[in-house]
Symmetry: C2
Subunit: 83 residues, 2 copies
């Protein structure tokens, strides 16, 4: 059993929060000739390696990291997936 | 059947490509007292809505979008997931 846990943290904007970056991408895609592009929202992803064997402990740690550093919970949601 | 396909495109740096942002997060997490944090790599995620019913066509379109706009394929990998 490996003692390194790899996790992927995904941080996305909450619904209703303006996303000018996403809007710009939407328009750029239409400009490139891609039809039927609806809403585009941009978010962030963090691939984190943790020296830990206990998955539950790792998940709790990762959530604490999101709350304290990785996400702005006022405007962003996050999800943690152990891979 | 819905005529809108929702997809998540994840763009990550290729192995070996320097990620100063990830390094900064690594150090910040250690500074906050999180022990055992190994490598952190930051990437981007795009949630795209497409007015399309054909999943295969949607996936091909999304890959073309990545090649042309969303990802820099010299230094980045991408993956497309229809949700």
């Amino acid at each position: 059993m490996s003692s390194v846990i790899k996790a992927r943290v995904t941080v996305t904007l909450k619904n209703g929060v303006l996303d000018p970056q996403g809007k710009a991408i939407e328009h750029a895609l239409s400009g490139l000739g891609f039809g039927g592009v609806g809403q585009v929202r941009q978010g962030k992803v963090f691939d984190v390696e943790l020296a830990e064997t206990d998955k539950a402990k790792a998940e709790a740690d990762l959530k604490a990291m999101c709350d304290r550093l990785l996400a702005n919970t006022v405007i962003e949601n996050y999800s943690v997936a152990i891979t």
